[in-house]
Amino acid sequence: MVAERVPLIQVRHLKKYFPITRGLIIQRHVGDIKAVDDVSFDIYKGETLGLVGETGSGKTTVGRTILRLYEPTDGQVLFDGVDLFRLKGEEMRRMRRRMQMIFQDPYASLNPRMTVGSIIAEPLEVHGVAHGREKTERVQELLRLVGLNPYFVNRYPHEFSGGQRQRIGIARALALNPDFIVCDEPISSLDVSIQAQVVNLLEDLQERLGLTYLFIAHDLSMVRHISDRMAVMYLGKIVELTDRDEIYLNPLHPYTQALMSAVPVPDPEVEEKRQRIILEGDIPSPANPPKGCNFNTRCPVAMDVCFEEEPEFREVKPGHWVACHRV
């Protein structure tokens, strides 16, 4: 699938801090939540990059900052060679056609007062790409594309199940023929049997339309299933990045190792034999990350240097990046 390996997205030293303020009237800036703290990676054309991490690891913020739904604190994102953070107003708006997002909660991300037809037509109107008859036809085509009956155009979101709503969200994201879609936990709120339907649809659409995905989720098995390469985030940083098989067979970062071992496999035979690495404690607050390597509070193999110096995110073998002193 990834033949020529041309990067579509290049993220360099991306940072996003959310300020913590005190006081009601005069808001003093007393600190920062370092939601994303210096991450760099590429997403190649036509691939799916999976981004996994636990609650508060900053994975959603990465997705949103790449699309400039959040203004970045620092860093650079090149989209097809264009520096997104330098674009202004109309230029950025035109660029947005090429990048879309699918949200986690299909209940909150669809306006309950709009019909399905007008929800899907909205991006076409905003960007003025289709009118009248052409617009209607495009909406019907999109509904068919995501496996919904075109006859549903005049219905409202509440008439649909969770899985069908997620299909509507996907149709809306596809309306402008984007190159790149950020899928932010698109299946987390769906039941198991419905998750597979949506994932198969996403895979199918990627093949047919040549889409590039950033697939963000906390479910490791699902991310590994859909991704070509995977990045693991912990406390605002990417700790490991490599292809889907390498990360499963040969995880190098102790956090990745623990994460892989903690994921249950639906097979009692496998479960009986597995050795779990149980991490102690919880993820620390991103407002006050530990000094040195930010995993040192839970790391089973931490040494002195891990409490002093931050490990560099480096390529230890071709295509396998990791940030750990012990590797």
Partner: protein, 331 residues
Amino acid sequence: MGTLMEIKNLTVRFYTDDGVVHAVNGISYSMDEGDTLGVVGESGCGKSVHALSIMRLIPSPPGRIEDGEIWFNGRDLLKVSESEMHKVRGAEIAMVFQDPMTSLNPVYTVGFQIMEALKLHQGMDDHQARERAAELLTMVGIPEARQRLDDYPHQFSGGMRQRAMIAMALSCNPKLLIADEPTTALDVTIQAQIVELVKRLQEQLGMAVMWITHDLGVVAGLAKKVNVMYAGYIVERGNVWDIYKRPRHPYTQGLLGSLPRLDEPPGTKLISIPGLPPDLIDLPPGCPFAARCVYAIDKCLEAMPPLEEADGADQHLVACWRWEYIAGREK
């Protein structure tokens, strides 16, 4: 081992403005002392409602337990008085819920809430209860337990709150612990901590555990027996190896097929189950899975199949008219 609980023909309905919701439709099974039962199914399959019925905590109205018996420790819990039931809840059967934030009271300290049960069920005084509460928090792996007793729930992390809930549930040495999606709100590394904790405590204390979840992965490593529920019915039941290695109901097979595995080889396709679960207000007369089932025949649309023995295997039960045909096809 003796039988701990026997449920016969439990039927629960909710009378709502939209119609009668058939939440649990005549399920029967028994559980041994010290056993670990996984109850799996998707939203709305009746797994939580059936557990709440055991505790007699179904909100009524609109809910009503229409029929059935729940035999526990020599008496039918559906027949005992409300005051007798007070003694059962917490003392004999304890429950841990999905969301530890909403099941702890935010305005009382964690210690106060653990001590409450000890004073009520075991007649301890303040001093004894405090000692015991500290012991319990230590047992569930909360460091500096004595100091943490004076913390409020918001000062605990999600995983610690769930540990505190488990401490509370175990405070009176229940014979049965019902854990209703206890790890769903937690991250995977914290989930692993809680699963290990429950396994260890079960070994120490010897109670039976019912683990209700939609996550087939967790159950595979934890349970000895599994009930698979769909639309208020138990559609398949058996020991964990039979359910995962030789599933006989097409729904169980579909669920396992639609689940990605961490250890799957590249290029694996997920086999999704088409369609949606049925509306519980308007249940079809036959098998509730028939509309989504590729093996369905006319008979499936007409009558609900009984839960019968499959493969002649010990306690492997399946409710499907077509299981023999499906099993035959695989060979």
